[in-house]
């Protein structure tokens, strides 16, 4: 099966689960860790175009990407050891995907019926004579205070997720930066690159303090895997808990699966 055959180009996916499920279904695969690792690249390809997602959903894509990377690194780096929490998040993603698929399928039952054979609830008032019945104490002033109440509860635009996303570097930028670094220093460690002072395990997501840091590491890791795929670098890990070292490499074609 060709890697490029299933590339998603112009479609808009509202959420990461929707994208992931579509990728799996296009390959006619079942939902499990093997299928997830096989569609990880296409998913990452999509995350690279983050700019075209509706604002606020980017962070959701990156969080799912982080779990996909765990799964991917399991198949990419033999011997990698995941913590119970990491294993849990893989199982959890599978469960979420399964229930999402069920909901999506069930929503078709609603779609099929919605607006077709409608039951009309009686709308118009059936009163022969209307008796003017105002509230006690209904005045200009009470209407003003109700109006103020309405205005104060108008919805505010949700800005939080956008801020998180804007602070992050794009995947493209990250790849450029990584390529440059690799050219300058023949060998560097993953944790140097991700710019963290903390020890990072091979999964790239452990022991991080803030979510932003975590997302930064994920993006770095995504970029690294991308370079591995393109055959520009080679990833080495001597021991399970050791840092991952990155080396330039131009000889072999990438060997993924």
């Amino acid at each position: 099966m060709s890697e490029t055959e299933f590339k998603i180009k112009t479609e808009i996916f509202e959420g990461p689960l929707e994208l992931l499920l579509t990728l799996i279904e296009r390959r006619k695969l079942l939902i499990n860790d093997i299928s997830l690792s096989r569609v990880a690249d296409d998913f990452i390809e999509h995350v690279k175009k983050l700019g075209s997602f509706p604002m606020g959903t980017t962070a959701h894509f990156i969080l799912i990407a982080s779990t996909l990377l765990l799964i991917k690194s399991k198949s990419l780096l033999p011997g990698i050891e995941l913590t119970a929490e990491e294993e849990g998040s893989i199982e959890n993603l599978e469960a979420r995907l399964a229930i999402y698929k069920k909901i999506r399928d069930a929503s078709l039952h609603i779609q099929k019926r919605y607006g077709k054979k409608v039951i009309f609830l009686a709308n118009p008032p059936k009163r022969i004579s209307i008796i003017f019945s105002p509230n006690k104490g209904m005045t200009k002033e009470s209407l003003l205070s109700s109006m103020k109440e309405v205005i104060s509860s108008l919805p505010q635009k949700e800005v939080l997720p956008q801020i998180t996303v804007k602070k992050m570097m794009s995947l493209e930028e990250m790849i450029d930066k990584l390529t440059e670094k690799i050219q300058n220093n023949l060998k560097l460690n993953f944790s140097d690159f991700a710019g963290s002072h903390e020890k990072i395990t091979s999964s790239g997501v452990k022991h991080m303090v803030t979510k932003e840091n975590k997302i930064m590491v994920i993006v770095s890791f995504l970029a690294m895997l991308e370079l591995v795929k393109q055959g520009i670098v080679e990833v080495n890990q001597d021991n399970f808990s050791d840092d991952i070292s990155i080396e330039t490499k131009n000889v072999k074609t990438p060997n993924y699966f």
Binding site: A122, K126, K136, M138, K140, L143, L144, M147, E149
Partner: protein, 187 residues
């Protein structure tokens, strides 16, 4: 299954909630006035002994509550009219007052919930009236003359802090358009 004429007529009368001429019923159901008459006879038999009965008045028919239950209905009606209006009703009224008139769509959008049943209740109490919206399916709501008099104004501009309230609503309603584009993209 082909739905029989009496069922169609029953549904129409129920939905309209007001008297309908035999001619109109024939038109709606694409049948003759004679057929409608027969169907109404059939319907009358079927509905006898129920809570809802056929009421005939010259060449108009409507559904009405069975006279046997009129005492309960009267009690409910009184209770409904004398009950204090809730927060949601007062807010809906305030929007209609400050906008001078408002479509159901605008009211729903401003309040973030569907106002159908609240508007219905305001209509029953004679606090608002409505007319069909031009060019669109839907209604526009206005305060009744009685209510304007009760509050002591003749037009919306006389409401306290009118300009600032109006402005806030307009800002929100203008932003609506951009929001809708986002939804379309998401769906």
């Amino acid at each position: 299954m082909k739905t029989s004429l009496d069922i169609k007529i029953e549904a129409i009368l129920f939905f309209q909630g007001e008297p309908s001429s035999l001619k109109k019923l024939a038109e709606y159901t694409e049948s003759s006035v004679e057929e409608v008459k027969d169907a109404i006879l059939k319907l009358k038999q079927r509905l006898s002994d129920g809570g809802v009965v056929i009421v005939e008045n010259r060449d108009e028919v409507s559904l009405g509550t069975n006279p046997e239950v009129s005492s309960i209905i009267e009690k409910i009606n009184k209770e409904e009219l004398s009950k204090d209006l809730g927060k949601a009703s007062l807010e809906t009224l305030a929007i209609i007052f400050y906008k001078g008139q408002a479509s159901k769509r605008e009211i729903d959008y401003i309040r973030g919930v569907n106002s159908g049943f609240i508007l219905r209740n305001l209509l029953i109490r004679g606090l608002v009236c409505r007319e069909e919206e031009k060019g669109e399916r839907g209604f526009i709501y206005k305060p009744t003359i009685e209510l304007l008099a009760h509050v002591g104004i003749e037009k919306a501009e006389e409401m306290p802090e009118f300009e600032s309230m109006k402005k806030e609503l307009e800002i929100f309603l203008t932003a609506k358009n951009t929001d809708e584009q986002i939804t379309d993209a998401e769906q």
